[in-house]
Symmetry: C3
Subunit: 350 residues, 3 copies
């Protein structure tokens, strides 16, 4: 059962202006539709203001523009969405993990595990690895030799970090994530591929989250670098020697090819592909499913999506893509013919 | 070695009409090309009828239209493809897993494991989790605290189910699948992303199959829901608060963004992307590699695929996509000029 | 600390022509930018020749065309990129794994493990499986019953190989790879999908590398086949009954649908999709993010990429894709009208 907080307690902690009964007790957060009387809810977009009428929430978080749109006890915030996130974190603390090493875990020679860290069942910590204070290494995780993980990390079950990687504080890594696997480096030699050893590392800053089954390859010679505050969704592929700038967020299934340099505060949509050896400026947004094949030097939003349609319409239209150049030439020819016809016609009129 | 069945035994179990020697013994199923005399084969498409001539199969499953296309012992069925599936399941039962908990598995406090269930080596069952009758939890699987898995589940090695998820009967989950990881919920606050706790669950119905390395995120506040009979191939990403309707099948590498609602009996092609907060009606088919960016209210097939070509042709044609609007305007201008020229010309004729 | 080699020793081992001081000691390999005096660097493209000026490398590998572009001690090679790969492998040997079975590993009945093989902590080797000489099975790997893995394999932590698969020598498989999971085989029967047992195997040749979280499904009836020397990057999906020809290299996030046959020496770009039941000739190159929906019979490079642009430009242009057929018809109409106008005009002149 969750602890309850008075609305006044919440505002004391996170700021904002309380209107209505500041003593209402709040135990959980929920959508306007599902909230009960001991829940707080939130409105982050005035467009959905009508939903306030039907809610059974005990209190609401909302922005200045909607401050008077309800009589419910409420907190008015400049950024109701972030406020919601903070209140939810207060009401839903992560379960504490018991410090110590589970008897079924395997710890290598010379590994340094902070006394407040927790190493779960069947986890394997490599020789010389370091696990920081209050970090939680989940069931079945493997931490490679000499890898350093900072404080307050939370690795969910079955995360693998290869040897020699450096990770800052507050990492969250979800199950199946792989950090430090070999980059895809091969050279053709006399009809056979030979492997290029991948001797760089993965270096990750503070406050990074890595989604389930996301992979981040180690560098070929230099390092792959993920800066502070980067947020990666599930099943993202980050190739060797990529650098992702601070506070960039990337949605599921995106792929970043080798040596690409992504700026700070970028947002990359689901399934987007960034080709190798190119650069994205800060504050670039890439639409879902878009391939970026050249560097982008200017902040802004970019897209390359084929608009979907009924399959018969698609077939009818798409066939012309193989002849677009021909269509463009025919337009040009028409323009020239029409021009000469016009001048003929003018001559005729004279 | 497989058990053998007489053709008559098979027909007694699954129906259909036997023609030819009903006593032929069948031990395995194979393609027409590879089948031997103690194998049954199948023809599901009259187009390939010619392959019947060369087969060494002992018997064949086929449809009414092809009933007389061979003299081999045969079973005639309304749905030879489904019939093939059933016969193959009869001939290839899953190996039995020994009930009980392997000594190297770790079982949490208060977990309820049915006596007929099998918990394999190095699996970890969380506190308060429930594993139903005849369910098999493979090597290295992690089942989170208080998660409920129904009867006759088969989890292959290294599946992770996070805490508090609810799964029906007959689940098949392949290696590397992750169920219940956090959705990608972040809010920008003063130049930094803050995490939105993901407090919903994943709720999965009966008869669901989940492919290798597929990920299904838990809901942010409400649940992510996978209805009965849904079939998911490998490496699919299902984001938080998605609902997938019953009997929908999704091919590998597809991605469904947050809060999308997919109808029943949909078929989604490999690598397709469904954007967030939209709805697909029942019986919608999406072609491979197609991005769906708007709700689809009408059953039918939809596509958005750029037709491939030799790279020089592609380059020549694709460049015009950045000027399509200009081309369209030039066509309009031509039409107007031609129209005025035509009326000039008519005037000239008068 | 790495062992050092004289430049002459390196050339003695790998060939090439030494110019300058053949006695310089080399301990590591690095980029021209980062190399120190005991490092060797490399120039594989004359375009970057200017970088030679600033390097502090002790020696350089380069091609004939650049042989005189520096005074540094150097090795001149026909294929400097492959030469770099070989020198890097010499300088960066994989850490030796101690032969033997870790006490926490679980080995099934009748499994045959070569005395020189290494089975790491918490790995599980199934009944009747075979692990060849000098092979290393990483932490938490699961090798299915009766699977055969050849010599000198290196499986990183948490690789799963299902039962009954056959793998040659020198396999490298990265963490999270899944080999032999069920293909996506379902048949619709009276409103419900029924499963088609996947009774084929995965058969992998020699010298294959498989990236992190890549999945390779077993065959439905026949086998899925990966020939010698195939290199697969991360998060690739290979569906059932696919055949990938020798020495083909596939970049991250690509997907190959069921029963596709890929030729030898093909190169498939990141995120590309090859649809099922089609064939690619040898030496076919597919651009990143390209869908191939028909067989390709001729070697060469193929692409299908929508060029990206600023989102407003994209919106303006992309809308016409739903009307391309109409545009094409209007061009045709214009051509006809202009033609008849021209003949009118000619008549008028006569």
């Amino acid at each position: 059962m969750n602890i309850s907080y008075r609305l006044a307690d919440i505002a004391a902690q996170f700021g904002g202006r309380v209107l209505g009964d500041a003593g209402v007790l709040i135990a959980q957060i929920a959508t306007l539709e599902k909230a009960q009387s001991n829940h707080i809810s939130f409105l982050t977009n005035s467009k959905y203001r009508a939903q306030l009428a039907g809610t059974r929430a005990g209190a609401v978080i909302l922005g200045e523009a909607d401050a008077e749109a309800t009589d419910l006890p409420r907190i008015v915030s400049d950024n109701p969405y972030a406020y919601f996130a903070k209140v939810s974190a207060l009401l839903n603390p992560l379960p504490e993990a018991k410090p110590g090493v589970h008897p079924s875990a395997i710890v290598g020679t010379g590994a340094q595990i902070a006394p407040t860290a927790s190493i779960a069942a069947t986890a394997v910590i490599g020789d010389g690895a370091t696990i920081g204070a209050h970090s939680v290494i989940g069931e079945g995780c493997c931490i490679g030799a000499n890898t350093v993980i900072g404080n307050h990390a939370r690795l969910y079950p079955r995360v693998v970090v290869y040897h020699g990687c450096i990770i800052g504080d507050n990492l969250i890594a979800h199950s199946g994530a792989v950090i430090g696997s070999d980059g895809f480096g091969i050279a053709m030699d006399d009809g056979r591929w030979i492997k290029i050893p991948q001797i760089g590392r993965v270096v990750i800053g503070n406050d990074v989250e890595i989604g389930a089954n996301t992979t981040i390859d180690r560098g070929a010679l230099n390092d792959t670098v993920i800066e502070d505050g980067v947020k990666l969704d599930n099943q993202i592929q980050v190739a060797h020697n990529v650098r992702i700038g601070a506070h960039t967020a990337i949605a599921g299934c995106a792929g970043i090819a080798g040596s690409a340099v992504i700026g700070r505060y970028c947002m990359i949509g689901g399934g987007a592909r960034i080709l190798g050896h190119l650069e994205l400026a800060d504050h670039v947004e890439i639409a879902a499913h878009t391939l970026v094949g050249k560097s982008i030097r200017e902040a802004g939003s970019y897209a390359a999506i084929f608009p979907f349609s009924k399959i018969d319409d698609w077939r009818k239209n798409a066939v012309h893509l193989r002849h677009l150049d021909d269509l463009a030439k025919r337009i040009k020819t028409l323009e020239q013919e029409l021009k000469s016809l016009n001048s003929e016609s003018l001559k005729g009129q004279n």
